[in-house]
C-alpha cells in the first residue's frame, strides 16, 4: 500500500483516539461530580440557608450562595450590557473605518478577554482600597461586569458584523439616522445573537470564583443591600471542599451539580433562542 494512503489511515486513527479520549475524560468529569454529589443533593440544600454548624456537617443548605450568585451575575450582566452595546454600535456604525481607533479597541477587547479573572479581582481590590469600600455585592458586580464586557462585546461584535448591509441601506434610504437605524433595525435583526452574547457572559460570570473571592466576600445570609458582602456558588463549593468533613465535602459536589445545572440551562436557553428567532431574520 502506498505511503500516502497509510499516512491517512494513521492520522485518522490518531484523531479517533484523541476524540474518544477527550470524550471519555469529559464524561468522566461530569460523571464524577454527579456520582459524588448526588447523594448529598437534597431539596433542603436548595431551599435553606446554612444553619449553625453547617460547615461541621450539621444541617442547612446553600440558598444564600445560589441567590448570591444570581445577584452577582445578574447585576454584572446588566451593567456590562450598558457598556457593551454602545461599544459595539460605535465599532460597527459610528467609527471611521480608516482610523486606527476601532482596531485598537478590538485589540484591547481581545487582551481583556484573556486577562485572568484573578487580575480583575486584584483590580477590584484596588478600587476597594482607593475608595475605602469593603467587600460587597456592589464591588463584586463591578468587578464581574469588567470581566464580562470583553466577552459580551466581542460576541456582539461578531453578530453585528453579520447584519446584511442591504438592511442598513434600506433604513438609511428611508431617512433614518445612524442611531435610529442601530437602535430600531439592527437590534431587532441581531436580537438572538445579542441575547446569546448576554447569556454567554452571564455563564462566565456565574462560574467565576477568583474575582469574587477578592471583592464580594462571603456570608451565610441572603444579601439585601448592595453594600453587604454576598455569597456565591463557586466559593461555596471551594470552601466546603476545604473542610476536613466528608459530609461537607459531599455537599460541595452537590453544589457543583447545581452550578452545572444552571450552566446547562443557560447553554440550552441560548441554543433555543438562536433557533427560535432565526426564522424572523433577513439573510
Amino acid at each position: 500500500m502506498k505511503w500516502r494512503f497509510l499516512e491517512e489511515k494513521i492520522f485518522r486513527a490518531v484523531m479517533i483516539i484523541a476524540t474518544s479520549l477527550t470524550a471519555l475524560i469529559l464524561i468522566l468529569i461530569i460523571g464524577t461530580v454527579v456520582v459524588k454529589g448526588f447523594k448529598a443533593l437534597k431539596l433542603e440544600m436548595i431551599f435553606r440557608l446554612p444553619q449553625g454548624g453547617y460547615y461541621f456537617g450539621r444541617e442547612g443548605g446553600i440558598l444564600n450562595s445560589i441567590i448570591g450568585s444570581l445577584q452577582l451575575a445578574g447585576g454584572a450582566t446588566i451593567l456590562a450590557f450598558f457598556f457593551s452595546l454602545p461599544i459595539v454600535f460605535y465599532l460597527n456604525y459610528f467609527s471611521k473605518s480608516k482610523s486606527i481607533w476601532p482596531t485598537l479597541i478590538r485589540f484591547s477587547l481581545d487582551v481583556l478577554w484573556g486577562v485572568p479573572s484573578i487580575v480583575y479581582g486584584a483590580f477590584g481590590f484596588l478600587l476597594m482600597t482607593w475608595f475605602g469600600w469593603t467587600a460587597s455585592l456592589l464591588l463584586g458586580i463591578i468587578t464581574l461586569a469588567l470581566l464580562e464586557i470583553p466577552i459580551m462585546s466581542r460576541a456582539m461584535d461578531e453578530v453585528l458584523k453579520l447584519v446584511p448591509p442591504d438592511l442598513l441601506e434600506a433604513s438609511f434610504s428611508l431617512g433614518a439616522t445612524k442611531f435610529e437605524t442601530a437602535w430600531k433595525v439592527v437590534i431587532r435583526q441581531a436580537l438572538p445573537g445579542i441575547l446569546t452574547a448576554i447569556l454567554i457572559a452571564f455563564g462566565r460570570a456565574i462560574g467565576d470564583a477568583a474575582s469574587v473571592l477578592l471583592t464580594a466576600g462571603y456570608t451565610d445570609n441572603i444579601t439585601t443591600s448592595l453594600f453587604q458582602p454576598v455569597a456565591s456558588l463557586p466559593l461555596a463549593i471551594f470552601f466546603q471542599l476545604g473542610t476536613p468533613y466528608p459530609e461537607v465535602q459531599q455537599r460541595a459536589y452537590a453544589a457543583a451539580i447545581i452550578l452545572t445545572l444552571i450552566i446547562l440551562l443557560i447553554s440550552y436557553l441560548s441554543r433555543r433562542i438562536t433557533r427560535r428567532y432565526a426564522k424572523h431574520l433577513v439573510f
Binding site: F5, E8, R12, V14, M15, I16, A18, T19, L21, T22, A23, L26, L28, I29, T32, V33, K36, I87, F94, S95, L104, S108, L109, V111, L112, W113, G114, V115, P116, I118, V119, G121, A122, F123, L126, L146, I149, P150, T177, K178, F179, I200, G203, R204, G207, D208, A209, A210, L213, L214, P234, I237, F238, A252, Y253, A256, L259, T260, S267, R271
Partner: protein, 299 residues
Amino acid sequence: MTNYLWRLRKEIWASKFMGLSSSLPVFLILLMLLGLFLKAKPLFVLKPLSQIIFSSHWLPLKGHFGLWPFIMGTLWVTLLALFIAAPISLFVAIFLSEYAPSGIREIARPMIDLLAGLPSVIYGVWGVLIIVPFVGRYLAPLFGTYSSGYSVLAGGLVLAVMILPTIIHVILEIFRAIPQAVREASLSLGATKWETIKHVLLRQAAPGILAALVLGLSRALGETMAVLMVVGNVVQVPRSLFDGAYPLPALIANNYGEMMSIPLYDSALMLAAAILLVLVIIFNLIARLILLRVEKGLR
C-alpha cells in the same frame, strides 16, 4: 422642523456617548496596569524591580518578596497545559469537522460548548479526585520518583483538560468557515482527505488556530481555582514535573486574607497581578504580530 433638530441632536449625543464608552476597554487596560504598579511601588523603594522578579527569596514576614518561584511555577504549568492540549484539540477539531458523521458532530457541538462554560472549580474538584491520586500513585512510581500527586503535572493535566473545549470550539468554528469549494479544489486534483487537510485546510486556518491557541494560553495562564487545588502550592522553582509549584494566581488567591496584616504584602500580591497582566498583553501582541505576518503571506 423641531422634530428634525431633535433627531439630529439625538444622533450627535448618541455618537458622542458611544465614542466615549468605546474608549473604556483601552483605558481599562491602562488603568489596571497603572493602578497595580502604583500599589506595588513601595516595594521598588526597597529593591529594584528586576531583583524582585528574579529572586527566589520569599519571606514575607521579613520583607523578602522574591517572585521568581511563582513566575516559574506559572510558566511550567501553563506551557505544559498548552503542550498537551494543543495537539489533542487540533486532532479532535479536525476529526469532528472533517471526518465525523453529522450525528456525532451534532452531539459533540453542544457538549463542547457546555464544557467550555463549566466553572473551573468543577475541574479542580475532578482534579483532586482523579488526577492527583493518579499522578501520585501510578505515574510517579512509574518514573521511579515519589510525588504526593499535587504537582506541576497534575496542574498541567487539569489545565489542559480545562482549555481543551475552548480551543476545540474556536478551531471548529474556523474550519466551518472554510468554504467547501476549497476542499473540493484539492480533492479533485487527486489529493486524499488527509493531504487536503495537511496542505490546504491547516494553512488556510493557520491564523485562526494560532488565535485559538493564544486564547487557550491566556486562559491557562490566569486560571486560578482549579490549579490552586491540585498544584501543591509549594514555594520553589520546580525542577521536575512531579514537583509541587505555586503559580502566581494561586499566590494571590491564597493570601488575600493576610495581605493587609503583613507590611508590603499587598504590594507584592498586586505586583504578581501586574506581572500576569503584562504576560497576557505580551502574548496577545506576539500573536497579533504573527497573525499580520501570516495574513500578509496569504493575501
